[in-house]
Symmetry: C2
């Protein structure tokens, strides 16, 4: 937060009929206004221009986005801050220690990210399998040759998908994959209830078995420091040489340098990535590879999903203002 | 069939224990040998080099591929021909009138194409919706900008998929789409049994309603002259401006020039195409558009699918040799 900007991120919202007072909401990022209409008509909302630093010392509520770092000094610049309503399921952008010290509540929006993220994980998996982006590139370059034994790719149908992190996104991916004729194995901190396993005909395995048996490995677990570089050189070496890695979770799950090596040397067949270890930087070596599909962290990035996420932030703010903690998505 | 080549397409196959004689099988196209192993060990099989013309006057069986034209003069060059075992579900490559005149049986392989083709239709639909190929291109060009309100795309979840041609491929696509949270409407020559509709929660509509109500329109019907240019300028004009067209059936279903106009003028939002009206030529205007995904007729083109299709050709040949017509996929 080097320099303060002259753009204030400010919203005065008539929130609480009991206290009959305005609360000030700051935004780190311009978001679609239609997702915040239920905050009431009696307010002004000033969002920062894109690229501006949030600067709103009077804020009681901060709406931050998953890709915007909220460090100690930003939190301390808002002495009256009581809630950080994060836009996104992940919250590793926020300095939670500072929030705990100061008694600041943090909420997230885990529900609306489920379907869009699982949808993108599935899109990337089927794209790398069926070589859709690669063939599109070839045709556009005028280099496509049609022919019955040309342009062959791999089916999802009949193959084994290994899901690491079988939470709501992982299960949503499994639902799609089962309908596409895939067999599901999964690794999770805790084994799921039998009814849930049966819904996806999913088989619980240990981590190593998952890596060894899967034709497609998808990462769908949240990032915490203990899963940093969960997939590195040894893990890539355990995978089938014909296997594909799909990462729509967080870049730091994967040792990106080791992945580049594995992709170059045929240790695995390919990778489809929405997230990167040093995001927004993408390893330049990846850009030159044919056996990768790259997406700019757009797992939740649909128009429909963005509006729903804003609505969910609104829900959290309204519940906070009414002190209805049971209706909030509480992180801390 | 301008010039005869020097490469013979020839296989002597010990087929029939009763007649104890060899039958000669010609191939139009090199295909994976492992799919024909069940024809027996007691044979030689010579396939034409790629690009060569089939030239095998002694052939009794011709194995042709869906992309290889088998006109009258080719058929007449093989006086003893009794069976054309086509590789593919479509058979508009074959001059059926000549076959009828000469009492030649024609078989196809409709079963193994179902899952790969539905899989590709789904892959193209999700690719154009979530802009996967476009973003991959942007990243590779070093032009991607990450950001929570950047790179937004459209969900499949919650949207309406209109399927034109609700045969086995259409239903296989519907199965995937339902699992992705889509609503299914369909248009077909005949309405499906209620049990089948219920399986996909699919609603039968007339053609115009389907065009008007769908967010995604997928063509999954076989080509016959009466559906030539089924989708032309008037039909594109009936679609939502936010809608996408997916064609994995045959290029001539769509008036490609009208489609180019519609895509350029925002009459529809985008298109994902595996087939082209003047295949293998692709309209050069398509190559420059950002709101298309193009695939080089690879609907059935997976390694797994190719082997299974060869196995199915083998089934048809063996059943023909044993005169078991009930086990053949008979076209005529």
């Amino acid at each position: 937060m080097s320099k303060k900007s002259s753009t204030f991120a400010l919203a005065k919202v008539f929130l609480n009929y009991h206290s009959n007072r305005y609360m000030v909401i700051a935004f780190t990022t311009p978001l679609p206004i239609e997702g915040f209409r239920r905050l009431g008509g009696n307010y002004t909302m000033v969002m920062p221009a894109e690229g501006q630093i949030v600067d709103c010392p009077e804020a009681e509520i901060l709406v931050s986005t998953f890709d915007y770092r909220v460090p100690r000094e930003m939190i301390e610049s808002m002495p009256g801050l009581r809630l950080i309503a994060n836009f996104g399921a992940g919250f590793n952008n926020i300095d939670l220690d500072t929030c705990r010290e100061r008694g600041i509540r943090v909420t997230n929006t885990p529900q609306p990210v489920i379907e869009p993220t699982a949808e993108l994980a599935f899109a990337l998996m089927i794209d790398i399998a069926r070589r859709v982006s690669e063939f599109d590139r070839t045709i556009r370059a005028g280099q496509a040759v049609f022919g019955v034994m040309r342009n062959l790719s791999h089916s999802l149908y009949g193959k084994t998908l290994g899901i690491i992190g079988m939470g709501r996104i992982g299960q949503s991916l499994a639902r799609r994959a089962v309908a596409c004729g895939m067999r599901i194995i999964y690794y999770n901190r805790h084994r799921l209830p039998v009814e849930t396993e049966e819904r996806y005909q999913a088989v619980y395995t240990d981590f190593q078995t998952l890596l060894q048996d899967s034709d497609y490995v998808s990462l769908n677990l949240p990032y915490t420091p203990d899963v940093h570089h969960l997939i590195g050189k040894p893990e890539l070496g355990m995978m089938k040489r014909s296997a594909f890695l799909i990462n729509t979770a967080r870049g730091a799950h994967v040792d990106e340098a080791a992945l580049v090596e594995a992709l170059r040397n045929g240790i695995i067949a390919g990778a489809a990535l929405d997230v990167y270890e040093h995001e927004p930087a993408v390893s330049p070596e990846l850009l030159a590879l044919e056996n990768v599909v790259l997406s700019p962290h757009t797992g939740t990035g649909t128009w429909e999903g963005r509006i729903t996420m804003c609505e969910n932030v609104t829900d959290n703010i309204l519940a906070f203002a009414q002190n209805e903690t049971d209706k909030m998505n509480i992180v801390i």
